[in-house]
Subunit: 343 residues, 4 copies
């Protein structure tokens, strides 16, 4: 007996990737795939990559309406919707006893005032923030397994939080010294008609954007602060790079007084030794080696001339940074092996 | 009466770009183009992009030998050769009364011991380092005009030195706080048969390399130290990005005590107001807007949450980062308008 | 005394390229650059690549209105507008005694009914078609020099017409045997907000489109028919390739009875021996060797197993396929050396 | 009890893709992965993308020697080796009672003289050609299931043979009228240090190569001739496109006298209605929709102006064009469901 799942908003890049991953999940039946703009069309027509895939054979997009979605019989709902809209779906689904994996920002912050500060509007459902768990399994595995709503973490945050949390938790680095330069593939900006995302605008182009207060800072600092047990404020410079997928983060920080670089390596090795999807390796991360996978690759180097720690990470923004992590969270929630459909 | 010039080692990316730029230079006659591997072949056959260009019509590659080169009658010699090899050409050319624009690292460092530290071998001509001028016109215009050898600056260094020098000179930032994350297009690695530079290896790939002590650090710190009038040690993380051309640098630094961000903006605006090739603008730099040009674009932002300065710059690694800057230096040396063939 | 020119609709890819080329034209003063959406903004703000270029210093976009344009004092007007709109500008400009280089399709066809067949609407100014000259200098040099309106040829047509015309004119190939497979960079589709042109949609994507009756067929067949002195109908399959610039055309045809391949080579060599911008060479064309230039590269091969001729060509769709050809036409019209600003 | 398999020559692009696919195959145990240059190194070090994948955990490359390979206990051997070398391994493996899936060209041709004509050397094991089956399951499913050696088909051939075979078999098109223009991603050229394959050489580049007698013509014409029951000679122009993966083929042909286009559509629909990996759909194929999958997408259009049939196809050159097809062949040979690990 397979677990019935639905994907709400499946025509964006994360939603499409979710469909592709869940098509490979032996324990899952996709019973609904929704989209406001494509309702009625066969999934394989809107997402031609998946055409002919048995798991979605005969399935058409349904409308993104609560009653329609509930009628599908799904127990788990993946929400791949814009922020603000996701909570409109999550709340009635929860009330109806369903469980939700939300890929938007709506439930990632525990403090509604931080949401308002970074998203420029009041949180749409501040009273429910307590029910959601931040969805990075490596940090919150047990809570995720029991949660009604998992707020699957963002792409930049995953690549930045995973290398830093073990070091902040062990007080090996100076929290105030952190500066991050990240680069993302263009799919991170979503499938939207925007001149600045055209091929001819992005090819041979590398540029920073969203300075100095990108929205993802809010969840990054929330998780770093939780690890450090004190507020952490960092500098974060995201860049758009000419590639479809992949995020690479380069993190500068200073070691805490008296700390040796070997302790950093040991802390990271220990934190991730048994994690199936974090590879702390000698080699420098490269987006091409994580694209299409749920891995986050991490490396550490020490610049002893300038006495500065350099952390590097890479992940696929649509997999470990979105759909793959959502499936990993779902596997925990539904009792599957955490790696199902992901290795 | 045109000025006769020769290009030694014209089959690499910088050499090819030099040829293309000099073909457009109304005051120049290209009398020799050399290559050890292509001697005897028409320039337009080896560099098909330039085939049919009148300025190289009938010109064939000559051998990269001093006597052959001198026989061309050239007064100015551009050296687009690997480090170590360039000085073997530069010294006899100088002795013969010629003037040299060297695109290699051989004459960029004033201290031979720094060369040895970073390049892992004794400097091939330490006694002549005093004769060379570091080739960033915005910093050393007058000395360049009179120099026998101009060591045209490297690609990463130009993108990092230009934004930082005015700030260090005015003591607006903390010299020890500088950390740089740069990304370069693949042409920066040269036209060499190396599996790691294949299209299928670099596409959809973004990775750091050369950590933590890239060779270009030596000249970067030399110029920053000269501006600061004290030794400066920085952290520098270069990355390879999936594009042919372009360098983007993101620089983190802290303001000196009591300094306001507005002073940073004023210092940069003042430094570059009259420079034809440095654009200090409001918009964030983007490699696509400098590719194919000799511009270096610079912007500054202040992260007041983390109290950290962010400087951003972009240039074409083969133009302002190599061949264009070489022509700019040449224009100064030969008495042409500095922008000839470059605007 | 420089020739005053205006560019109408300068914010698309062809218009931007026109600006860049004309900035380098020693005999030209750009007196007006217009755009309905950007009127009032400095050119360097809308087209940041050109910021800091002396030729457009101080110039702001004006409104795309006839009286405003005429007030600029320009004698020559480049129209980089969508088809249908261009003629609204061209006619009053002509009436006012100005000369027009139109990059749209409005004046390319001599037969208004063909326009209606391929563009799906009545020609906006059928009575004036007789005044325009089709703008491929290699074919119509003398008429272009005297024309009031030159309809600068399209990108695909230039790449297909140039290799075929000498062969059809000499009756060396079978007119009914021609089939063409072309590939274009994404800039050919224009700077418009369209999901199908996003980086993440076009990267790693190669696809045919516009089958089987692409609009450019009309002008291709017009010029081929004129050369063959009989109607010519061909099959044309355009493809979108993951690159910003460049068109590559591969043309299949059969030799006329009794014709030897050597005659094909001789005809092409003779046709283009003295042409500054057509390179008929031994090497197979490659878009990278023509990008950023006004060259069209052509090669011919013979498949003696299948007894079929293969013609190959490459050009930059924005230069020889648009803005460069427009400047070449302008040079003829205004009495400049044909290669000014283009070599 | 899992089926033991070995991959010989696993460090090329096809070999790496084979590893990745077989890691997902629930019925398979990878017992050996060989490489002459990487023997002794962990698989995850040489192929970092696969690092951390349970199926290759603890596995190191072994030497590519027959006795070493046989000692692994594998029953099935995938050969991802250059042509000429593959047969040196295949023959002793067959003699030892093993079964071979060869990705090279060594066993694809039934006629050794054709091999010699196209590969320029005598076939290394002409006497064994009769034992091999050409490995396109859609054409030779039953023979593949029983074969000792399956010569998994090449990338271009698969994309060209699949659309044409049903039409030639039904005599719907003129065999002599076929001309093909294909474009391949750069991975098709293999992971070898070659300047012409560098990122900076291939980016923004589209060029034809291998004219007019590419090696793959031999197997294409063999299979087309078998379908047509007469010799078929076609014109084939391959191109290199700036993408890592994907092949797109555009095929021109003429309908046989009296044939309607609808018959073409019916024949293709009928041929592939039940095939899991061939999608004959209304939409035009796009490489991005097949990359990473084992699908070959096919479409047909009719140019009624020129009375010419246009067939279009797309596949991932490393999956349906190499490793995926090899696994599909293996599944047939070993009695697995044909789609295992491929959907």
């Amino acid at each position: 007996m397979k677990t019935k799942v639905a994907i709400v908003g499946a025509n964006g890049y994360s939603g499409e990737e979710l469909c592709a991953l869940l098509c490979r999940h032996a324990g899952v039946e996709i019973v609904a795939v929704s989209s406001r703009t494509h309702a009625g069309k066969p999934v394989g027509e809107v997402l031609p990559r998946l055409s002919g895939t048995p798991a979605i054979a005969g399935l058409s997009f349904c409308d993104s309406k609560i009653d329609v979605l509930l009628a599908s019989g799904a127990e788990f709902f993946f929400l791949a919707l814009p922020h603000g809209l996701a909570s409109e779906f999550a709340l009635p689904l929860i009330k109806a006893g369903k469980r939700v994996i939300d890929l938007s920002a709506d439930f990632r912050l525990r403090d509604a005032s931080i949401y308002e500060e970074f998203y420029g509007e009041a949180h749409p459902a501040a009273e429910t923030l307590g029910e959601a768990v931040y969805g990075i399994p490596e940090l919150h595995r047990e809570a995720i397994a029991k949660a009604k709503i998992v707020a699957s973490a963002g792409c930049y945050p995953t690549s930045i939080v995973l290398p830093l949390v073990p070091l902040l938790a062990a007080e090996l680095i100076e929290p105030d010294s952190i500066a991050v330069s990240s680069a993302s593939g263009v799919s991170g900006a979503g499938r939207k008609a925007d001149v600045s995302l055209l091929y001819a605008e992005c090819n041979e182009s590398l540029r920073a954007y969203g300075l100095p207060k990108h929205r993802h800072l809010s969840e990054i600092e929330q998780e770093l602060g939780a690890a450090a047990k004190r507020p952490v404020v960092i500098t974060f410079v995201p860049h758009l790079a000419p590639m479809t997928r992949g995020i690479h983060s380069t993190i500068f920080a200073q070691l805490a007084p008296g700390v040796q670089f070997a302790q950093v390596e040991e802390a990271l090795a220990a934190a991730y030794a048994d994690e199936p999807f974090v590879r702390f390796r000698g080699a420098l991360p490269d987006t091409k080696n994580v694209n299409g996978t749920n891995f986050c690759d991490i490396a550490a180097r020490y610049d002893d001339r300038a006495r500065r720690l350099i952390l590097l990470s890479a992940e696929d923004n649509l997999v470990k940074g979105a759909a793959g992590q959502a499936v990993q969270n779902f596997n925990l929630m539904a009792g599957f092996d955490e790696t199902t459909a992901l290795l």
